[in-house]
């Protein structure tokens, strides 16, 4: 059982000429293996900042992140061990893969870096990963631009799983994909999470998929956690006014719009 504690993390950015921007303000939550947390908020609410802090691409201004009770090391073997346990799936499938390298390279690198399997078995492991994300093996020698968005995101998931992490951060993994394939990728993430017993932090702006996918939901507004709790509670019985607004803004296919102007007026 792996436990990641985010303890009162604040992140302040200094902007030249415009003072400071508080991206995160006193954010706390706990991510455990086997459970999925949905982090919901609009653009600019600080969601991606959390992802970057958890993957050590940034450091918090104050507060602490602890893995299994230990604060995360800043460098050296300790940092590498941490990185092997927590992996990220990025938002943009077009940008998160190096256009120059083949899929095989993308999947081999984490295997070799972390010594997950001995050198002779790397090729087999790459194929095994591709099977797990339900991709054909013949993508192995292709370059990213030859794949569709959904396929690329599956590769990104495979890459994240290569090092056999315990925790996964998925930063809006489907928001840049066609709507029709989003569910497929999300379900893949859910299945893999279940099979591996991963703790998943699912970052999104979409309340509906957060509910579908997570055990617990955190609502982030301008860097602060304004509401948290079991997914169904937060969605069906929101306490915070911001959460209520978010829910009201989600399109509901049940509602009828009388006329175009009525719809515009009503949806405001």
């Amino acid at each position: 059982m792996t436990v990641l504690e985010v303890d009162r993390v604040t992140k302040v950015y200094a902007v030249r000429g415009a003072g400071q921007i508080k991206a995160l303000d006193d954010v706390s939550f706990t991510l455990e293996s086997g459970r999925t947390i949905g982090l919901v908020g609009q653009s600019g609410s600080g969601k991606s900042t959390i992802a970057r802090i958890l993957t050590q691409l940034e450091t918090p201004t104050s507060g602490q992140v602890r893995l299994d009770g230990q604060p995360i090391p800043r460098r050296g073997a300790g940092l590498r061990a941490y990185r092997q346990k927590l992996r990220m799936v990025f938002q943009d499938p077009f940008a998160s893969l190096n256009p120059y390298h083949s899929i095989r390279y993308h999947l081999e690198r984490p295997l070799r870096l972390d010594g997950v399997v001995p050198g002779a078995e790397v090729e087999d492991e790459v194929r095994r990963l591709l099977t797990r994300v339900r991709l054909d093996h013949d993508v192995i020698d292709r370059r990213p631009h030859e794949l569709s968005g959904g396929q690329r995101q599956r590769v990104a998931i495979a890459r994240a799983l290569a090092s056999r992490p315990r925790l996964l951060v998925a930063d809006e993994p489907v928001s840049m994909l066609d709507v029709s394939i989003r569910l497929g990728v999300l379900n893949l993430l859910a299945d893999l999470g279940r099979e591996e017993g991963l703790g998943v932090l699912y970052i999104t702006h979409d309340l509906a998929t957060a509910r579908h996918f997570s055990d617990e939901i955190l609502v982030l507004n301008q860097g602060r956690v304004v509401e948290s709790g079991p997914a169904d509670d937060v969605i069906l019985r929101p306490q915070d006014p911001y959460t209520r607004e978010l829910r009201a803004a989600s399109p509901d296919p049940e509602k009828h719009f009388g006329s175009v102007s009525g719809a515009l007026g009503g949806a405001r």
Binding site: T55, Q56, L57, L79, R80, R83, Q84, R87, M88, F90, Q91, D92, A95, S96, L97, N98, P99, Y100, H101, S102, R109, P110, L113, D114, R127, T131, R134, L135, D136, H137, D138, I140, D141, A156, R159, S163, I181, L183, G184, V185, N187, L188, H212
Partner: protein, 338 residues
């Protein structure tokens, strides 16, 4: 809702012993050099290759030794014996031009290699690092960019008595790296924020691999263009300095030929066979290198290629690409109701 899509999304997975073969080395090389595969680049490369061949085979190709004087045949216009005529000492101009190719090619490429290496190191490091280290490298680059190169080279070159080619190439390289470094820094900075670099960092890739294996391949086109441009500049610089007489070279290059031609009044006496060929050769190599760079430009920025083609295609149909309104034509097929 969920179960239907799930089964739809899962494609048939092919596993098993019949795995597809690895991509051949040839195909890999082919894609690496994709930037050279358009018509302009190929033309340029062919011309350049021609000059390189001439430089390599100078001893074989030249009919005479460049220093072979023949007092009976001075200032002669082109003839069967001397295809490009003779100089004031009766030396064969063609042989001199052929032998001159070597100095030009050697110095040009050597200087460009040195300059490009410096540009890559300074530019990529400056682009990847943040803060004062990046700023100070950038300031250093800009200083070299602003300080006028030719006067500096003139003064430095005049300090040496008989500089060897390598030294000249070094001086040219040391004054010419700044432009490439600047461009590379800008591009590296933009690459650094791309997700795949962040992913590599998050996966714990060491720094040298991030720069060497993740970023550099994506910078290849820029590096190639910068290299080609530096070769052009180095060749122009060398021939100019030779013509001025600042570099007293004992090996031939096209600039020194022009120097002698000028000193002997060839321009005033209209001895065109003496001063036209060297200059045309310089221009030809310049054109070849520019063509290669055009090709790379179009590969990097496909708009440059397609913009002209699109406009031409439209003009054929009687449309002007700059028209704000496109004519609407009705169709008679029944199926277009979507």
């Amino acid at each position: 809702m969920t179960t239907d899509l799930r089964t739809e999304q899962a494609p048939q997975v092919r596993t098993g012993p019949t795995a597809p073969p690895r991509v051949t080395v040839r195909a890999r090389l082919g894609s690496a050099f994709a930037m050279f595969r358009n018509r302009k680049s190929i033309t340029g490369l062919v011309i350049l290759g021609f000059f390189v061949l001439v430089a390599a085979l100078a001893d074989v190709l030249a009919p005479y030794s460049p220093t072979q004087v023949d007092h009976t045949a001075r200032f002669e216009p082109p003839s069967a014996e001397h295809w490009l005529g003779t100089t004031h000492l009766g030396e064969d101009v063609l042989s001199q031009v052929i032998h001159g190719t070597r100095g030009v090619i050697v110095v040009g490429f050597l200087a460009a290699i040195m300059a490009t290496i410096i540009a890559i190191v300074v530019g990529v490091v400056a682009g990847y690092l943040r803060g004062w280290r990046s700023e100070s490298l950038s300031a250093l680059t800009n200083v070299f960019l602003v300080i006028p190169g030719l006067p500096l080279i003139i003064i430095v070159a005049s300090m040496f008595e008989n500089p060897p080619l390598v030294l000249i190439a070094a001086v040219l390289g040391l004054t010419g790296w700044a432009w490439g470094a600047r461009v590379l820094r800008a591009q590296t900075m933009s690459l650094r924020n791309r997700d795949f670099v962040q992913a590599a960092r998050a996966n714990g890739e060491p720094l040298w691999r991030i720069i060497g294996h993740e970023m550099l391949p994506n910078l290849m086109a820029l590096i190639a263009a910068s290299f080609v441009g530096t070769v052009t500049a180095a060749i122009l610089g060398l021939t100019t300095l030779s013509y001025i007489g600042v570099i007293p070279v004992n090996t031939y290059n096209w600039g020194t030929i022009l120097n002698w031609a000028g000193a002997q009044g060839a321009f005033r006496q209209n001895q065109w066979w003496w001063f036209l060929p060297p200059g045309l050769c310089i221009a030809a190599i310049g054109v070849a290198l520019s063509l290669i760079n055009f090709g790379i430009d179009e590969y990097v920025n496909p708009r440059l290629r397609s913009a002209g083609e699109r406009a031409r295609a439209m003009r054929k149909r009687g449309l002007d690409v700059n028209d704000p309104v496109t004519a609407v034509r009705t169709t008679t097929s029944a199926g277009d109701d979507a």
